[in-house]
Symmetry: C2
Subunit: 293 residues, 2 copies
Amino acid sequence: MLLDPECIPCIIKQAYDSAKRFTSDNTELQFKIVKEACSAVLSIEENSTSPKFSSVIQNIIEKNTGFTNPYKKLKEKNIKEARCYIPYLETIVENSYDKLQMAVRAAIIGNIIDLGANPEFDIEYEVNRITNNNINLDSLKNFKDDLENSNLILYIGDNFEEALFDKILLKQLLPKKIVFAVRSKPILNDITLEDAKILGIDKICRVIESGSKIAGTDLFQCSPEFLNLFEKADLVIAKGQGNFETLLNVNRPVYFLFKVKCNVIARRSGLLVGTSALYLYNITKVVSNANIN
Amino acid sequence: MLLDPECIPCIIKQAYDSAKRFTSDNTELQFKIVKEACSAVLSIEENSTSPKFSSVIQNIIEKNTGFTNPYKKLKEKNIKEARCYIPYLETIVENSYDKLQMAVRAAIIGNIIDLGANPEFDIEYEVNRITNNNINLDSLKNFKDDLENSNLILYIGDNFEEALFDKILLKQLLPKKIVFAVRSKPILNDITLEDAKILGIDKICRVIESGSKIAGTDLFQCSPEFLNLFEKADLVIAKGQGNFETLLNVNRPVYFLFKVKCNVIARRSGLLVGTSALYLYNITKVVSNANIN
């Protein structure tokens, strides 16, 4: 989906937040970074996406601060907190009548950990609400049916810390053949190949880099291997807003698992801000409905 | 006080909000406005203030939408709501043991109505909290002493709707000689001379235009008459964040009445975001303290 004008002030705010975080209160450097971010707005391409523009901002941060992986320390801090909730969630899933549904809920909850659109996240609050109805699972029946008929599953990861929660779902998808795709560059707190190995995801399934170097999946950057899998997989699961923003409107069905963190995504998905969802985008259905209407 | 780098994303957000409000969902025009706002960031002067930069943004809105007083209708809508609370507040003040304190509280509450920094305001919520302690009145004793010794009071207004609440305080300041100063141009929902007459403030005291055409008091724009009053008044009361941002650090004591609506003002005032306050800035005191240290 294309960048919305409302994304611009939000991304400039992210530029400022990063500048503040990484410049030790150097106001002059913060001004410089925010001005460079504003300057970058002037050359946004018409068909850009929000995650693509965010990556331009991260380059500005990296150039001005000298950090090449600025969120590394924060990821290490967050993962410690995230780990505390995993045994609890695993117990809930294991004792559920519908393990798959509960694992989907756990994976969606992980999406709250977001240093871009949602830096003030509260994991405990979300974990405590896992069994209530604030998670939209309208597509769960479809998901189960499609899963039943699938051999190959492509699971596109999002954030590093969130992937601990994805592991819970990945285990429920076994013994299907799963490929877990990660970013090809550290961007915000997104998961990389190194991160996936730290979390032991490579012990559950195959892990590949998608080729995308932004906080989403830019198909123009993706490797032939990823593109081939994206086309041939029987089921594609994509985590988080960044993947939603870059993969909505692609030419195949995708199950998005994410929390709606802003007005723009609320408008595009038809869900309220704050809702978490298993959201099926199915181009075939959209086109056939369009034909009927 | 000078513009903080954190003001920039906030003002770009205000540009987007105004663009959305006044362009009837014309996304292309919204992009154009937001891009022009970002472009304006590149030429911010080093000694600029946030209200001064906001006025550049409003000029961009006016140029692109063709509206010369874009907030007129919104002011008319808000004033109707604001009027509902006045009889209640007047009754509370009239029945108070300390009428002046309660009138100060009422005037501060009015400052919640702000279409710039606080567009999601809730008047009823604030009115209901008038008697609780979330209003910082540490300077009230000083204020009463200074008032006692004053003959001429300069009261610098802020927003149009808020001035209904100011009237409650103005009446308590009588029979002192009061001059109420307003903006010289409609900017956001700030009060103008025409507005002050609509509210009947000219029936209580003299009303003058300050000369300032921004959502604050830019002394470089102010008329000789205003500057003379600003120097000679025994007591200066300035309402709202805009006046705080433009008059903090001036060469005379000023009583600011405002609600802290953002991190920047919180840092500069030492008050928490969300606090309302009667805040005394006294240059003499600051300088003498500095000498002691």
